[in-house]
Symmetry: C2
Subunit: 337 residues, 2 copies
């Protein structure tokens, strides 16, 4: 592993300058500091904690509410803290923004801010640091994102294949044979996973594997106005949605079209957000245990810090069946396949 001497030698400065630059001392110019940080990252330098110094971890959040107990991110962060703090790490929560990310490469940012590792929530595939994750050396855990080959990056999430299989096999037991899928655009890793998982579960259950029964879009309105009528025309008696908010919109829109849920059509979401219990009828969904996901994220980080690089850590999915899911309507051919 590179030392401060290596960095000093490479840049032709003194070790004192390197030390000051790394510790953020005021009497080093910003140009020098940037050069030192960049060289430190290139050489694979990592800070050694002084005795008694608490190691710091960072939770970066984007596109996700987390400040109230009912927010999606709350339990993810609380679960993470519950493991990290007793293990003597301090945890900071930092909302991501593009200008900050463009100002520094990821490893540089982490070194500059003295973070040992990070847990990322809610970042899209278009995030500026996604490129950096391919080669970064900072121990990093991504919730619902996955990076090929880099041993420093771990994916944590629920098993979407299992979740989808639970929905499809339950719908099949209820007599459904033509099951549709509506989902968010494939620019997010988790929607790619659920879209693939849908086809996988349909084939696993020997049902009709037909792209016409699926539709994805960035816009809810496009799912409702363009895709939903096609699914209904093709005789879907059940629709699985990639996330609960979309499922809720589909349910409301179907109500406006005069359909009775679940008598005419069953609807199932994903994530089991608190809203599900309060919709009319209550929305069936696949639960993610967010507190345990947060705990697992800390485990994955500490496992990396102990040189056991995990690629992916998935928790079990659980189907929560509520009023939006019922037997297939008797009027339609239940065995159309």
């Amino acid at each position: 592993m590179a030392t401060m001497d290596d960095i000093a030698r490479q840049l032709g400065v003194t070790k004192g300058t390197v030390s000051k630059a790394l510790s953020g001392a005021a009497d080093v110019s910003e140009t020098t500091r940037k050069a030192v940080l960049e060289t430190a990252v290139e050489l694979g330098y990592s800070r050694i904690s002084r005795a008694g110094e608490k190691k710091q971890l960072c939770v970066f959040v984007e596109n996700m509410a987390y400040q109230q107990p009912e927010d999606f991110g709350w339990e993810l962060i609380t679960g993470f803290r519950k493991m990290a703090e007793p293990a003597d790490y301090s945890v900071e929560v930092v909302p991501l923004d593009v200008p900050m990310q463009k100002a520094a490469r990821y490893d540089e940012y982490m070194l500059r801010n003295n973070y040992t590792g990070a847990f990322f929530l809610g970042i899209p595939l278009s995030d500026p640091w996604m490129q950096d994750f391919k080669t970064c050396r900072t121990p990093t855990v991504l919730y619902d994102n996955w990076i090929k080959s880099n041993p420093s990056v771990t994916h944590v999430g629920i098993n979407n294949d299992e979740g989808m299989e639970l929905i499809v096999s339950r719908l099949k037991e209820l007599g459904h044979r033509r099951i549709g899928y509506l989902g968010g655009a494939l620019g997010a890793f988790v929607y790619q996973e659920r879209y693939k998982a849908f086809f996988h579960a349909i084939r696993q259950n020997q049902l009709e594997d037909d792209r016409a029964l699926t539709g994805v879009s960035y816009y809810t309105s496009e799912c409702l106005e363009r895709h939903l009528p096609r699914l209904l025309k093709h005789g879907c008696t059940a629709i699985i949605c990639s996330h609960d908010l979309l499922a809720h919109s589909v349910m409301v829109h179907c109500g406006e079209l005069g359909l009775n849920i679940p008598r005419d059509l069953s609807i199932v979401g994903f994530d089991d957000i608190p809203l599900c219990r309060y919709t009319t009828p209550p929305l069936s969904s696949v639960r993610q245990d967010r507190s345990n996901l947060g705990k697992s994220a800390f485990f994955a980080l500490s496992s990396q810090l102990n040189q056991v690089p995990i690629s992916s850590l998935q928790l079990h999915a659980e189907l929560i069946q509520r009023g939006s899911m019922g037997p297939a309507p008797a009027g339609r051919p239940a065995d159309a396949t």
Copy 2:
């Protein structure tokens, strides 16, 4: 959680009898012991360790050599021990056999033998306990097997999608466009996974997704005599095999057919067994870090014992490129797709 009193009440015997039956005392009849164990399992009883008593874990092995350092199972077990023993567990290694498994349901066997949890190596989908794993309550980790929905069972293995993607994208860089797959029969979970991963990686790399370029069989001879000629006839310039021993047989057989490896045909295996370095030419393969897999299996168990049930824990795959992999032959159309 059920207590000894609950078991005694259910069976109409004294608590003393239950205690004796559970501790394996000699003055309890086998019939009574069996009734007590069955009731204990049904009621979800689990033994509480006495102060100072070491908790025991079991590694069950089937179809896998493990007694010498060069055996496939050696590092899996050693890695597991390296984590478990310092954490104050004792570890026993037990070869599985069908008569033993038919004599007792899994949970019963574990309770009777006072094991807190288990790590299974090498079991096929036809194993008699596979049914029990769907509902068992004993913390259990399966190497290269996966069970739907049961929070007590965790899968540990490498990320086969990643491994396959690494091979296919490297072969594509080397100019290969028609890539074939030969594999073990789909009666083993890991061969199912690699077969699916092959199609996934082929599509990911925009190559031709053609079932005629694949063949699977329980018998190596069938792969060589029935499937291999078809792959060659269809113009494959590279063949990926589900495991190294099959890849080695394919390589030897192709030599006999007068093909030069890798000039005429590239061959890649999976698992990176020690043999790979000594074949002619040395066999390219996807490495599994078996020591880290063993360590992760212990983590998955202890995570379950702490009520964080992991569904699947995958380690990164790594492509080890050796002499059996080379540029696509110039004579054939490199862009047949």
